[in-house]
Symmetry: D2
Subunit: 378 residues, 4 copies
């Protein structure tokens, strides 16, 4: 008789739907021995969204009151898929009931919130994770393996860009993403959170940031056509210093025509280099620095069987893993950590550090020069 | 109260696992209104494979006797995921019990088998489909839309290659794929079936083929190390004529170093051109023939929201749909056809035509010059 | 006091201009020790073209009578840049006066002509070269080095395409290239000559060809707007057998939208693979078959200092050598052979073999199945 | 009877050789009507280099005393190809004798020097040019045309990188490029001068720079093996503000494995985007912002006949213009300006502005935050 692991998904929007599917796919692709994952609750303030998601993914219960699942002793895990303005309340509620929590990114509206969440979770001894799903892209996990294995030598130069063009058209309507009071920042928060997590993960800690942010489209329409002021960055161009000697470039933009979802990283080290682009997420470009000059060049490696997560989806090398598949890997990592009673990764600590970097980047983007990342308070 | 649609999956190997997951994902991604998909039976001659698959995907029953589900009146659909030597028996059994059948490719061991299956299914009035899942790749579906919409004008030239390198190492062990008595042909059957289906789908009917096949690795080891003779093609290089004036190149190979899963098609028409490669399955290269010469060139289009199947996986443009996702779309198309009582596409007719082309190609590959595709018997 | 090497360029059209510049550049880039290259005559039936070329490149004399330079004892080298219908007469004239001859490609209008030229030149003991300038592209020369050095192992599969789109528009006027009586064949002659030379050079001898040719645009306008019948191939799709076990695909087309000048070759061997495209002529894609699977992939090698001809143009790796530069290398190879009294390469023999292949391909393109390349008559 | 235009090339090293060839090629490719370009003097302190260059390119005279050609009334143009520490003296000497001057980049050792040169040249009324040859790359000239024609709309975001790897190996010996006293800066001067010129040319004036420079290889060997201290940047990562609202990223590096000569620019505007990479210098990636979303994407445009400089080298579209060819175009632009008595472009003013930007970038690279580009003194 299997043990049940009850999950409540809070928020039935895009991310709620994607996370829910990921849990459902675990049993087939990555079963947890002796454990049945139970989709127990889905919560949203829109009842029809709850109901719809419950039907699609087999949630046993749904409600518009997010505190209900907290009181359900059969719920072990809360998965917070709300807009980030509501993360804090949900997470702290979960923690107070000693539920394990997976929370969407960015973790908080600002680093103070995320620190509070991290410290509360840590103190309560629960398992916590921030949903930086791109860490589960096999080509990126392989990149990290190469770096960790010393194959790039000393890290020296970094370029990280997350460019999209969904907001390039001034007719794209205003939403919470364009309001600093809710989102904290613009492309820096929405896109930068992923980018900065990968940056830290691959390169180590950022110590200082300088740069510039710009709002090109100062007003956007709302439903009734009335224009609303935009007070967040459309683009941010940054330069970073890392612990050690490395330096690098960072950019986020949602107005970059033709860059549909280009999360691109380029790392140069003393022994080699690599380049990754999310638009071609199953490839890693890798150049070894040694060897004969006649053979030197970037190699296009299609990830497959022998790379990280190679067996999970039973893909032959050259077949493509998709964006949704990364969420299955993320869900698996989290539930395994819960079951094994060990910290999950990336944790709220990582979420907090990213929020600290967003805040530093946003301050830098106002144009006052270098802003140091303060020491992590103990 | 939803109607139940009972499915039996025959064969619990790789394809069986992939198809099973696809059915499970339907409820979340593409629910069939008023219908519950029930994974009722899984069959394999290896009991542990059945049991494992039953547990992973929630099949209600499993057995090593493939006739059992045929006798189950609650089963509406048989999904045949066996090696192709066993397709005929399973399909004819299903048809005789008036079950709808989805069958893996190539449909038969030879075109006589597939004709028999097609005619039996057709006569029985059941819904039948051949598992050419690449028709569900959005970029390819978009390519076909462009062609069908006349945007390439008259079709003129075609290049279709399906190159892999999994068998490039002579140490790769012998298996049924390397025996003509079971597989019918070598790379021509395993890879060529997908390639020829796409060729027909995009270009229309092939009328004649010439070419050459070659076996480079004449012996492969089996478990005890004993070498076994290989009597199928490692590579086939072909030229084809199409109804109309178009001509083209075709190639299959499983010994092409560096081509991991390169199913590539290039179509030139009087008004424009396109190129697709499965290794970058979310992209289509498209060149319009008109317009100013200074702007002429292939455009890299990342498929997304506004392309075929755009909303299903809720991907933003530039995010990647994966190989497994195509099976969800395939399962959906089939079950919808079953429920609507209409023919599914690609049907057994398509499977049969592809088998006819494989046979023609194999004969051409023996090097006797042009081999005409005989008229479809009525 | 330097020895003078007198050169006569016959034909002051495009190729005449390009060859003339190449000779002029030798003194600076690749001086021949103790030798001054003298541009002594330029010949064309259009006096203004002669005069213009003489002025531009410093030819000492010009004439509309191509036999004049033959009678000039100071002329050592004849460079024939005429349309190929006139090659035979000019070459045989040169040979009869024991002038060394460089001739544009295709060498003859048909293989009989080119055999005659080859045999006459050989008998006269002069130095002869066919202008297959792409053999001087460093990336292709490097490809050949890799093959010759055994780094691809046994050669197995070949794809060679020369696709352009200059004639895709039906309004492109008729010219000698579209008339079989003058050009011998269509895209097969104009593009196929280069392609087939590279094919032989990289892969060894072709033994048989099958395929199909097609004329899509049956009429083209001449100056007065009157349509003229086109009787040569717009496209040819071929399959080839090579001495040894290799097989391959070949294609030529001048109606392939978006392929501006795509001379592409792909070679797969037992130990590795390579791909070259003329549109990116400074790159070679190379994949080694051995090594760990996690690192396998095509590497983009930018040719430079350490590749063939690396020092000639003093390019840093990554800087681009251009199309005109290959003619300097060609001219150098020819004049050096002349001065050293050794055969030049590619010689008339190579030109002859290519013309034999064009003829075989054209016959194959008429669709009668495999056409064997007859043994080279002794 | 043609007028003679006497040229003296000062410096017989790499650039001296490349410039000399460019002048020689003018008569054939871009003759100046009524004018004969005379290579009259070549100067170098190494007599054997002078003699060699004189022989190769037909200079009438050579000397180790650079003031000699200044006193030659037949000399109209001085072409300064010395290391930049010697530019000032040569240029001012030329100006005092009212010779027109083309000078290699960077113009001065620092902006004070280049200002002095600019003002002196301007006052003397001579024609002056800085050798930013990449402005003559057709794909970049086409990029500028697109921008100037408003096809990108308002310019918003820029990425400019010039990355090489020639110095990635710590064994690469010390030279003047690694000494700030001679070179002014490291990769910022050698690579950044080209990059910053293109940046200004495409984007307009830079108003402020922040960033970080780093020296990774602190010592390099000299001939006797003794290590020498390196005091310039191996890498600089910068962010820039432009007049108007645009912001951007800039990077130079000579230790970036696999980037052989990657001068890459990416421009995003309100209406479209473009990307150029010098390693593929015959291509421009262009994305139009409008049009249907299903067709949106970067188009690979091979430059050719209908693009800037299209007819000069008589290349068919898809054939490659090479790096050396850009110098022919540069020489032509300069001599034409001299003959027409109009300012040349890019002039010493541009050289000066670039040197001001290098200085600002170098200061910014020391890490003190934003450094404004001071107003151009009048």
């Amino acid at each position: 008789m299997n043990r049940r692991l009850g999950i409540a998904v809070i928020g039935a929007g895009w991310m709620g739907r994607v996370h829910s599917e990921a849990y459902r796919r675990l049993a087939g692709l990555l079963p947890l021995p002796g454990v049945d994952v139970e989709l127990r609750w889905v919560v949203d303030r829109e009842p029809h969204l709850c109901r719809d998601l419950a039907e699609r993914y087999g949630f046993g219960r749904f409600t518009t009151d997010w505190t209900e699942p907290l009181r359900d002793p059969e719920v072990s895990v809360l998965d917070v898929c709300l807009p980030n303005a509501y993360h804090r309340e949900a997470v702290l509620g979960a923690v107070s009931e000693r539920k394990h929590v997976l929370c969407e990114k960015p973790l908080g509206k600002d680093p103070r919130e995320s620190e509070e969440m991290y410290r509360a979770a840590q103190e309560a001894g629960i398992c916590h994770q921030t949903a930086f799903n791109y860490r589960r892209v096999p080509a990126l996990a392989f990149a990290r393996e190469l770096i960790a294995g010393g194959e790039l030598g000393e890290l020296r130069e970094f370029r990280g860009q997350f460019l999209q063009d969904f907001a390039a058209d001034p007719g794209v309507p205003a939403s919470w993403r364009f309001a600093s009071s809710v989102a904290g920042a613009g492309s820096l928060a929405t896109l930068g959170s992923h980018l900065l997590d990968l940056t830290r993960w691959l390169m180590g800690e950022v110590t200082a940031i300088a740069g510039a942010s710009q709002t090109f489209i100062a007003e956007r329409p709302v439903e009734d056509g009335r224009p609303v002021r935009v007070d967040v960055d459309d683009t941010s161009c940054l330069v970073a210093r890392f612990a050690g000697r490395a330096i690098g470039l960072l950019q986020t933009s949602w107005v970059a025509h033709g860059r549909r979802c280009q999360l691109e990283v380029e790392v140069h080290g003393s022994r080699g280099s690599l380049v990754f682009s999310l638009e071609r997420m199953n490839e890693l470009q890798f150049c070894e620095g040694d060897g004969p000059s006649t053979r030197k060049g970037f190699r296009t490696i299609h990830v497959g069987q022998s790379h990280p997560y190679g067996g999970v989806f039973e893909l032959k090398t050259g077949m493509n893993l998709g964006w949704r598949d990364t969420f299955v890997l993320q869900a698996h990592e989290f539930l395994k950590a819960v079951l094994e009673g060990r910290p999950a990764t990336p944790s709220f600590y990582d979420g907090w550090q990213v929020d600290r970097l967003i805040a530093v980047a946003a301050e830098a983007g106002r144009g006052d020069g270098w802003v140091s990342v303060p020491p992590v308070p103990t």
